[in-house]
Symmetry: C2
Subunit: 414 residues, 2 copies
């Protein structure tokens, strides 16, 4: 089944907020064999909301809207839906009860605006929002369904997963399966990979599609298949996966769609090793990425963010002569940082960074984007100078990713 | 002028990639008095691309597309544009030269796929992509313009700013000004704020609009005005800003649309103070947020990410008896972490966190989401127990934000 998503909110069209709801919904309906056909982002405007609903229903049987349901004056979605689906605004006692419960849970006080959430069009079935005050509305017109979700990502995610998707499964019936296989590939640019896989690609059956999703330092390859016969589909994908494995070998660092920090975590856990980081230009971002993974306390001990030279000297044991002679952004400094943090925190593995993230601080010899990175695994140690293009946050992200990939390579050869 | 944006790529519709280009474009055309009318996300499908162009041209004079221009087989945007705008594919020597330059700069080798980037429809004017291999294409049909940008955010951002926006300004002429004023407000929920501002809102002139943009721990208020007379518009906005200031006072922590880390940085710099963090459950994310701000080395010294108890004891001086008796997630531990890191790194200010980010590790007494946070500014110290709802990354984000806001409040009263 195809789905249209309508994302509502002025704040999205001026770029103050980024829509993550449509991606979340897509990722969670795909395994059901459903397919997001298009996503449309529009402002808080009654006529545009109604037009978007009309256009979407012309294209798909299911429309999901997110946003525009808050209690403040700039939200007019509810009224637009009432106009489109008919009926009148009615006060729903069950919604009121739910609003009171949520407000109390948040240690807030009820007020007129929060209470106004209890008004809903009589043409909808209400699904109580267990994690927020805006009621979820289910509308039907003939064979078509529209579900209006809140804009707050946490609320949409919780309620889609626990309440809306089960109801949609009951209402519609999936007859086509969609399956994905994702491969995280390093050591290749997107086009070098495409050339290596040309023959492989030419032999892919028509119900399976290969996509290249390049990321800094890696390419995600994704096989997507669609077929009514799920067993056959899985079998076809398994055959192709085996072929990819034979062609790319150790350049595939994961056969699952996992973030690099999770791949690193799996390796550390399987080898029963621990890791620490000593971060200058990445400012704690490697530690942050590692600890975003649930269960990372099994292998992550801690980090020293040594932004100032005094921290590099006093805690990580970088000699002041080296800092003076070579500068903080240099090979001997980053190597000592790596040794220093492993010794201080008692870990087998460590990653260290020192660089110029910009926009200031660059020189002819060491321009903005210059980063020394070091990774250590037991007595093996590698260090490398990189030059990452782009803005401050991009340099930080690239250095973070590269540091983790360097340690992954060391661990794979351990 | 109104703009339609078409975002192209299967990877967006299955949620593997999040579109940030449309938001970036919106933020950068708004100050020119231009307005993003809608954003449409579609797959790599020729018929859908052509239909989206038709629909968009029916609505606006300017259409910007992003994505679908890479060298691999799943990109068919270029052919769709050729079909829509006419002409044939021609080999462009200037594009070839640019591709060679960029490939060399990246220390990569040219290959057949990268070279294929040099084929462009004869119906377009090419804008050379200074930071990537995919050429930017400028098409015209009557009074209407379509600009096809690459999908890589870095390339789109650099090329929009330096090449495309200046050309668009030359081509179209803006006659209406759009101005924004943003206020970062704490201490109020969205609806409490709306009630406090009811009278203020009723007196806003019709060419100015007020929007509420709630974020964890704060609400961003945004006044948006549109008028041909720029001086009058700015004057009107200044009057309203003064009124908001009188109503909300110190609850406004910034009169610019800045992230909390930048607001904290401004305060530290103006008071010539330094800060360090001691992070357990936030795992380095506070340090990361602080150091994402350019120039943060002026006031940020470093951080101890003390994920394991041994780091809390050995580096931050948390007595083992307290860890045993109270547990790591407790008030005395978080207070000692805050004192310990300020002493170790020699700073006036510090922030510390210790909590259970989940999904595991919770108990009846300390459920998942329980976080102790402490902030210190000279001899003033505050500590508080919070319970944040939601997933692991949400708990980390909320704790990060709350820690920075606690220190901002201390600094404001310094």
């Amino acid at each position: 089944m195809d789905i249209s998503i309508i994302v509502i909110g002025d704040e999205l069209l001026i770029g103050q907020v980024t829509d993550t709801n449509s991606g979340w919904i897509a990722r969670h309906v795909n395994p059901l064999g459903w397919n997001v056909k298009s996503v449309k982002v529009i402002g808080d405007n009654e006529a545009e909301i109604i037009k978007a609903i009309e256009d979407s229903f012309a294209q798909t049987d299911l429309v999901i809207t997110t946003g525009g349901l808050g209690p403040t004056k700039d939200d007019i979605t509810k009224e637009a839906m009432r106009k489109y689906f008919g009926g009148e605004m009615v006060y729903d006692k069950e919604v009121e009860k739910n609003v009171l419960r949520v407000v109390e849970l948040r240690h807030l006080k009820i007020n007129d605006l929060t209470a106004a959430q209890a008004y809903v069009p009589s043409s909808c079935k209400v699904i109580q929002n267990k994690v927020g005050t805006a009621p979820i509305m289910w509308f039907e017109r003939g064979s078509k369904v529209l579900v209006a979700m809140p804009g707050v990502p946490f609320e949409t995610e919780q309620m889609m997963e626990n309440e809306v998707i089960p109801r949609l499964l009951n209402h519609f019936c999936a007859n086509e399966h969609i399956e994905h296989r994702t491969f995280i590939v390093i050591d290749h640019s997107e086009s070098a990979l495409a050339i290596k896989l040309e023959q492989f690609e030419n032999n892919i059956p028509p119900h399976i599609h290969l996509a290249y999703l390049p990321r800094p330092g890696l390419v995600r390859l994704r096989l997507t298949g669609r077929l009514t016969d799920k067993t056959q589909l899985c079998n076809d994908l398994d055959v192709l996966s085996k072929q990819l494995h034979d062609i790319l070998g150790s350049s595939i660092i994961s056969y699952e769609d996992k973030c690099v920090a999770a791949i690193l975590g799996d390796l550390l856990r399987s080898k029963q090793m621990t890791v620490a980081t000593a971060e200058s230009c990445t400012g704690g971002n490697i530690a942050h990425e590692i600890t975003e993974v649930a269960g990372s306390s099994d292998y992550f001990v801690g980090s020293i963010v040594s932004y100032s030279n005094s921290v590099k000297q006093n805690l990580l044991g970088v000699p002041s002569e080296i800092l003076e002679k070579e500068g903080a952004v240099s090979q001997p400094v980053v190597i000592q940082m790596c040794h220093g943090v492993a010794k201080l925190l008692g870990t087998a593995c460590s990653i260290s960074t020192s660089g110029i993230a910009g926009p200031g601080g660059g020189s002819l010899e060491k321009p903005v984007g210059t980063v020394w990175i070091c990774a250590k695994c037991n007595d093996k140690i590698v260090s490398e100078r990189y030059h990452f293009p782009g803005t401050r946050d991009r340099v930080i992200d690239r250095a973070t990713m590269t540091g983790m990939l360097m340690l992954i390579k060391l661990l794979k050869n351990e």
